[in-house]
């Protein structure tokens, strides 16, 4: 008999453009992309540079550190997975590398989250193949 699925939140659909990002996450490493042609750094993962459509890209390993740019404490979400984790904090984190990414803030009470708060990446292993990058308050 199949074991009941523990992870109920939606998983990213892996495709040819985003695969390297999620493979790195599975190793608990956070990467963003940089265009060798124009130098632009960007997030989320793409197969081309969103500035000049160049395919000459490199992956830049992030420090994993950043600050909270904005957030919301969600108290109502009827969908599977999130219904059980209310209230949860959804936030944009501005990485040290300069780009902002949507994420969840974990490891503290929702009402402790503030804009500007230093955070660092942590990973939740959703499946053997997929780990989700989350952020928690930076260890003192």
């Amino acid at each position: 008999m199949a074991e009941e699925k523990k992870y109920k939140k939606p998983l990213p659909r892996i495709d040819e453009e985003n695969k390297p990002f999620w493979e790195a996450c599975a190793r608990h490493e956070l990467y963003v992309q940089k265009c060798r042609s124009c130098g632009k750094l960007f997030y989320y993962a793409r197969g081309f540079c969103p500035e000049d459509l160049s395919s000459d890209l490199e992956w830049v390993k992030c420090s994993g550190k950043g600050t909270v740019y904005t957030f919301t404490v969600t108290r109502q979400n009827q969908s599977a997975g999130f219904r059980d984790s209310l209230p949860y904090v959804m936030a944009y984190v501005e990485l040290e590398e300069g780009v902002r990414m949507l994420t969840n803030i974990v490891g503290c009470k929702p009402d402790e989250v503030k804009i500007g708060m230093p955070v660092e990446v942590t990973f939740e292993d959703a499946t053997p193949e997929i780990s989700i990058p989350l952020f928690q308050p930076t260890a003192k």
């Binding site: 939140k9 939606p10 998983l11 990213p12 659909r13 892996i14 495709d15 453009e17 985003n18 963003v32 632009k40 750094l41 960007f42 997030y43 989320y44 993962a45 793409r46 969103p50 500035e51 740019y69 904005t70 957030f71 919301t72 404490v73 969600t74 108290r75 109502q76 979400n77 009827q78 969908s79 599977a80 997975g81 999130f82 984790s85 949860y88 959804m90 936030a91 944009y92 300069g98 780009v99 902002r100 990414m101 949507l102 994420t103 969840n104 804009i115 959703a126 989700i132």
Partner: protein, 382 residues
């Protein structure tokens, strides 16, 4: 080529129902179309352009079949709640180009009686960006809340100021016999309503209703001979705004691009506008849109909306029908922005009539402020 002076709104109709479990979506659209054509003094046989959104991928073809129409121009451009504002501009352009003569724009929805969880259901789309978002639990309310929180942080905007928008809108709704919520509310009522996704409270959010509406657009020349005083479509502009590859400013909206463009194309200034219909999915949507449109400076929206400025009798009355916050919101509200502005310009609004209303601005927002959205602006005049 400009559309100015080429096309006019000849008929409008707002379906009176806010709860329609006994009707189908297509029936609501047909009834709305009948109402708008009657308003214009035209018949279905005159229609050669069909516009809709919120139907299935090829739903516009099914809609034409359902109405037994064979239009020569079709547009089911779907950019969220702003779609019908966009359609009005597209219809004017199609008419100016001679591609059709009488355009019928239809909307119908049963999102309330179908129990569609618009604001607090989960996302689950297959778009590239969504693979980096859906795992974090975005909800419509939560996405807008991200913008609200940042706006408060940067500019000192308060929950009381956001609440004021809901209070004024409710006051307008109390003068609209069709509005769903008509009992007055106070700032305190908004602040003590439950937090759905901080900092947005329940009364900062639009309702979910059933409903629909229709607009008839024809050439300025033909509109002159029809039943009602024509409302000129002076200009239209569109835009979209998104995460900008991780670099965006969350306190701006698509309105910043389409708003000034629409004003410039109509050769009018902010001070010339007598009333505005501003998509009010949430109170923060109104505040950020007014700033982005340029009715006030960025960051000053909180003080701009105070002291009766956006209420009837104020400098810029907005959402005189009660908006999505108090009148109706069947999921995509853009069509009602155009319908109410048209009625105001014709002087048909009774107790909620804006005095000497000659120029109206409509701005639709489709999608979500915190992630990605579209903007559609229109300048209408009499």
């Amino acid at each position: 080529m400009s559309i100015q002076g080429k096309a006019a709104i000849a008929g409008v109709y707002e379906h009176p129902l806010r709860w329609a479990p006994h009707k189908t979506q297509y029936q609501i659209m047909a009834e709305s179309g009948r109402g708008a054509l009657e308003d214009a003094g035209l018949t279905l046989k005159d229609v050669d352009g069909l516009f809709t959104s919120g139907v299935s991928g090829m739903g516009i073809v099914s809609l034409a079949e359902h109405l037994n129409l064979n239009p020569s121009y079709l547009d089911s451009n779907s950019i969220g709640g702003s779609s019908f504002v966009s359609h009005t501009g597209h219809a004017a352009a199609a008419i100016a180009a001679g591609y059709c003569n009488v355009a019928l724009i239809l909307y119908g929805s049963k999102w309330s009686s179908d129990r569609f969880a618009i604001g607090t259901g989960g996302a689950g789309g297959g778009d590239p960006s969504e693979q980096f978002e859906n795992c974090y639990g975005p909800t419509t309310v939560g996405d807008y809340a991200l913008t609200a929180q940042r706006h408060m942080h940067e500019f000192g905007t308060t929950s009381e100021q956001l609440a004021e928008i809901a209070v004024v809108t409710r006051r307008h709704a109390s003068l609209n016999p069709l509005a769903k919520f008509r009992d007055p509310i106070t700032v305190q009522d908004v602040l003590t309503s439950r937090l759905v996704s901080s900092p947005l409270h329940l009364l900062d959010c639009c309702m979910i209703s059933d409903g629909g509406g229709a607009i008839v657009v024809t050439s300025a020349e033909r509109a002159r001979d029809l039943r009602k005083k024509p409302v000129q479509i002076l200009s239209a502009a569109e835009s979209c705004y998104h995460t900008s590859a991780g670099m965006r400013d969350l306190t701006d909206a698509a309105a910043k691009q389409s708003g000034p463009t629409a004003l410039a194309r109509a050769s009018v200034a902010h001070k010339d506008i007598d009333m505005a219909m501003v998509y009010d999915s949430f109170t923060i949507t109104v505040l950020v849109t007014l700033e982005s449109l340029g009715f006030c400076k960025k960051g000053e929206g909180g003080s701009f909306i105070q002291n009766g400025r956006i209420g009837l009798g104020g400098e810029l009355p907005i959402n005189t029908d009660g908006g999505g916050l108090s009148s109706n919101h069947p999921g995509m509200r853009g069509i009602f922005l155009v319908i109410e502005a048209t009625k105001q310009l014709r002087g048909e609004c009774g107790e909620r009539q804006v005095k000497d209303c000659q120029l109206a601005f409509c701005h639709g927002t489709g999608g979500t402020l915190g992630l990605r959205h579209s903007g559609a602006s229109l300048v209408l005049g009499i």
